[in-house]
């Protein structure tokens, strides 16, 4: 038993027959071939699978692909425009906000949402805003610095 879903991913239309139990993260990674979002826990704790669904950061490991029918998805692969990095990507690079990089795609999208909601966050607000995304490498300090740098760059 499969269902047809039609959705927009990174600005392009897609349509697939999927099993109702297929998770969005597996749909994106295994069916569409967008392996930027990662799977770190399957329990919506770590945030490595974070993507944007209709402009909201969502953990794609705990959402079914069929729930994304008709929606607009943004993954890390769709963030750079015309070959230019998003200011958050650029800030992560400049501030050494990543080491192994596994949490990075989800982390960057969580930061995108954080800055959309609060263009000038304090250090405390940044740390609170990133609580849903785990990083085991950086100790978060350079990530926080990157968020500040991106906020400044984006005119927040």
């Amino acid at each position: 038993m499969t269902r047809t879903i039609s959705l927009t991913i990174n600005g392009k239309p897609y349509s697939h027959q999927v099993e109702p139990r297929l998770l969005l993260i597996h749909y994106l990674r295994d069916v569409v071939g967008l392996t930027g979002p990662h799977i770190g826990c399957e329990t919506s704790i770590c945030g490595a699978c974070t993507v944007m669904v209709d402009g909201k950061a969502v953990k794609a490991c705990t959402m079914f692909a069929v729930q994304a029918d008709g929606r607009e998805i943004l993954t890390i692969e769709g963030l750079a425009t015309d070959g230019r990095y998003d200011p958050v990507q650029e800030a992560f690079w400049n501030e050494h906000a990543l080491q192994c990089g596994f949490c990075t795609p989800g982390m960057i999208l969580a930061v995108k949402q954080l800055l959309e909601r609060n263009p000038r966050p304090t250090e405390e607000e940044i740390r609170h805003g990133l609580e849903g995304n785990l990083c085991r490498c950086t100790g978060y300090q350079h990530i926080v610095n990157a968020v500040k740098a991106a906020a400044a760059r984006m005119g927040g």
């Binding site: 597996h26 392996t35 930027g36 770190g40 826990c41 192994c100 990089g101 785990l134 100790g139």
Partner: protein
């Protein structure tokens, strides 16, 4: 020949953003689970729900009948392969046979029992639930001290005492030191079991090409070459028919410095089914089946004089090994013994290790691997001695430090510390923290009834593993540097970095030596088909050992460049710097690209010279390196909740010469966060039946952004003579330094209540009980 501009700017020592990052920030890097192959199948593993049980029977029929399932394998099917290798050896070590799938018995929760192969990962997981296993549960033991009690359940029936090994080391005259001591302080200190929790779980893809009779294993590993040797042996495959690739690796912290059952198993499955196979560990499996770290119960006794002089240290170390030896399991506590004197001058030590089997997943190397336990021990004991005699914790350290003029310093445990200025690092940390003023603030805080603490840890670590005679598998590292015909440079390193940034730091070394741009250098690693044999990344070794191999390969290459340059310039008197070879007589020059082109064109070879510009160097380090530093932590404990607030965290680290300060800071921050995890939050908890209670990220608290303070970093720089770059290594420093600084700080905060020691993690509940019971746990 044109006059070329000489490149003079040096890159070593500069904050250069990483070459690795563009692929990582765009989601285009390839981790194991990102690999797709035509005809790929998926494996899921049935694991034991019992910590100890006899397997009466296994019925795989219902799983095999499930649509989409291709094969099911159990212990009977894999008798010809394995075992899972242990690379450590100690006199009298008992090594249980570690089969890749359980045979007639299971030894820990998560022990692999059967593997299902299906055409997709959902079906494989469905089918695992259809396998019927008839277990006869047996008594289990999960606490290493209980495992030593008479009548405890035997983890391996052939060894009823549960002792895998004992190990004794002694130096000086310990009995005399303790007899002459004016003060003796004793303390039981637990370094709890921790779960490494790399954000990427383990995973394996195996691809068998029957026509070529060759197997490729993609694995999220820190040691592709060692894995190739060991998996080839386990599978009975000629090593040159096995290729191991470590693609992008999402963190390791020691947990991927191993060869696990699954790498052997997936190789076996791929050869059986003739299709590529993928297995990706779930987070629950990662917590149950990937090695844990620490797991010490340490009984310390320190002897001293009332003037603060430390006379000696005794240690009885009980190491929880788990049910099996993974690659280095029994070797880890011996590192604790090596480093038990810390950076102090006393000469009398006695250590006894008891390695104990328990019905738990094996422990093994986790960031610091034996050294955090040693540092935690000595730094707690020094603080307790200071408290006993009423001395300031900074003062007792200054009194006992090995002095700068004493290097190289031969330790009582047989090591030779290369260089150090321990007092210098502590002075700097005290200055950055404003120590005197902090003590004044503390007085005031105490008058106000607030629980403010200041904690110091001064650590030394053994790094850059290491001289080959002192390591299980060779401690050298390899490097190949190749200038391509167009002048672009390719570096192959046997180190297998996975987040540390050596693609950048090695390129910085290359740029300075060859005068090329960062964009002209590509550093490749992790593929045994591409890179000459290497050892890997662990033990803070990649830059200090692997980077040095790159440096030496470059020196040989520069000689060759000069030879070709001399031929092209028709002069015997040439020099090479800044990417240009210059005739010292005429001033005429040729660029590296011109030399490279000529070296491959080979129309005019210098006498006795091979064509091409390639150099390979295997560098054997003459010694370990010994980084050091001082961390100071200011805390305040909330009387009402028992919560610890970190008010300040000052980290002064000396890792020798620094290639990229930004990356060094990143290593310190990350290391501190993991040390903080141990100090305040993390603990792998097994219940008395051997069930892992902290089996998911919902129950095991790795630090979130709000749980880590801003870290103030500073450095002193004491180069090592062990390698020509003067680099010591920094990967584990933060983790080693952090936990005693935090615990010393919190004990200091609670000392007015009579608290002398608290075991980690310092959870609010634990502290609240101490506060409300007047310092008694």
């Amino acid at each position: 020949m044109a006059t070329t501009i000489t490149k003079t700017e040096t890159l070593v020592g500069k904050r250069i953003r990483r070459k690795e990052d563009p692929r990582l920030i765009t989601g285009t890097a390839t981790y194991v689970d990102d690999i797709q192959m035509p005809g790929m199948h998926y494996a899921a593993i049935l694991r034991s729900p019992h910590a100890a049980a006899r397997i009466r029977s296994i019925r795989v029929g219902p799983a095999l009948e499930h649509p989409g399932v291709v094969a099911v394998f159990t212990g009977k099917d894999v008798e010809g392969i394995g075992p899972v290798p242990c690379g450590a050896s100690l006199p009298g070590l008992r090594v249980p046979y570690h089969s890749v799938l359980a045979r007639d018995r299971v030894y820990f929760v998560g022990h692999p029992v059967a593997v299902v192969v299906a055409r997709d990962r959902y079906i494989a997981r469905d089918a695992v639930d259809r396998i019927e296993v008839d277990y006869e549960p047996l008594p289990a033991v999960s606490d290493p001290e209980k495992a030593l009690e008479p009548g405890a359940p035997a983890v391996h029936p052939e060894w009823p005492d549960n002792i895998a090994f004992t190990y004794h080391q002694e130096a000086g005259d310990v009995d005399k030191a303790f007899a002459e001591a004016e003060v003796v302080v004793k303390q039981r200190i637990v370094s709890q079991r921790l779960i490494p929790t790399a954000l990427e779980t383990r995973g394996v893809v195996a691809d068998w090409r029957s026509g070529e009779r060759s197997l490729t294993i993609y694995s999220s590993t820190q040691i592709p070459h060692l894995m190739r040797t060991l998996v080839a042996q386990a599978l009975g495959l000629p090593e040159n028919r096995l290729r191991v690739v470590a693609p992008e690796v999402g963190g390791g912290f020691g947990s991927k410095l191993n060869v696990y059952a699954e790498e052997i198993l997936m190789g076996f499955v791929a050869m059986k089914i003739g299709k590529p196979i993928k297995w990706i560990e779930s987070r629950r499996e990662n917590f149950l089946c990937t090695i844990h770290g620490r797991g010490h119960v340490d009984y310390f006794e320190i002897a001293g004089k009332r003037d603060g002089t430390i006379l000696g240290l005794k240690l009885k170390l009980i190491q929880d090994l788990g049910a099996y030896h993974q690659l280095l399991t029994p070797a880890i506590p011996t590192l604790s013994v090596l480093m038990m004197p810390g950076i102090y001058r006393f000469r009398n030590i006695r250590a006894d290790i008891i390695g104990v089997f328990t019905n738990c997943v094996p422990t093994d190397a986790y960031r610091g691997a034996g050294r955090p336990e040693a540092t935690h021990g000595i730094e707690r004991m020094v603080d307790m001695l200071a408290a006993e005699i009423g001395m300031d914790p900074a003062e007792i350290r200054f009194k006992n430090f090995v002095r700068p003029e004493e290097f190289p310093y031969e330790t009582p445990t047989g090591l030779s510390y290369d260089t150090g200025n321990y007092a210098g690092a502590l002075e700097k940390a005290l200055e950055v923290a404003g120590y005197r003023q902090l003590r004044e603030e503390q007085k005031k805080a105490r008058q106000e009834g607030r629980l403010m603490g200041i904690g110091i840890s001064t650590y030394g670590e053994i790094c850059a593993f290491g001289p080959s005679p002192a390591t299980p598998a060779g401690g050298w590292e390899s490097a190949t540097v190749r200038v391509e015909p167009t002048g672009k440079v390719t570096v192959l390193t046997g180190a297998s970095p996975h987040g540390q940034g050596e693609e950048t730091t090695f390129a910085q070394i290359v740029c300075d030596e060859l005068g090329v741009d960062m964009d002209d250098v590509v550093v490749q690693h992790g593929d045994t088909a591409v890179v000459p044999y290497g050892i890997g990344t662990f033990g803070s070794r990649a830059t200090a050992v692997g980077g040095t191999a790159v440096y030496y390969a470059l020196q040989a290459l520069k000689e060759k460049i000069k030879k070709f340059g001399a031929t092209l310039l028709e002069s015997d008197d040439v020099s090479f710097s800044g990417g240009v070879c210059v005739c010292n007589q005429t001033g005429r020059s040729v660029s590296l690209a011109e030399i490279a082109a000529a070296s491959y064109r080979a129309a005019k070879l210098p006498p006795g010279t091979e064509p091409g510009l390639v150099s390979t160097y295997f560098w054997e380090p003459p010694n370990f390196t010994f980084p050091f530093g001082a961390h100071i932590v200011v805390t305040e404990v909330d009387r009402e909740t028992g919560a610890v607030e970190i008010k300040r965290y000052v980290a002064v680290d000396d890792c020798g010469k620094v290639i990229n300060p930004m990356l060094v800071d990143g290593q310190v921050h990350g290391g501190v966060a993991q040390g903080l995890g141990q100090a305040l939050y993390e603990q792998a908890v097994y219940d008395e039946n051997g069930q892992l209670v902290t089996g998911e990220l919902t129950d095991y608290a790795i630090p979130k952004a709000t749980m880590v303070p801003r870290i103030e970093t500073a450095h002193t720089e004491t180069p090592t003579p062990v390698n020509p770059l003067g680099i010591k290594g920094v990967g584990e420093a933060g983790t080693i330094a952090c936990s005693p600084a935090v615990v010393n700080s919190v004990v200091d905060a609670l000392s007015p209540l009579g608290v002398r020691h608290i075991d980690m993690p310092l959870t609010p509940e634990k502290l609240w009980r101490l506060i409300h019971k007047g310092g008694q746990a």
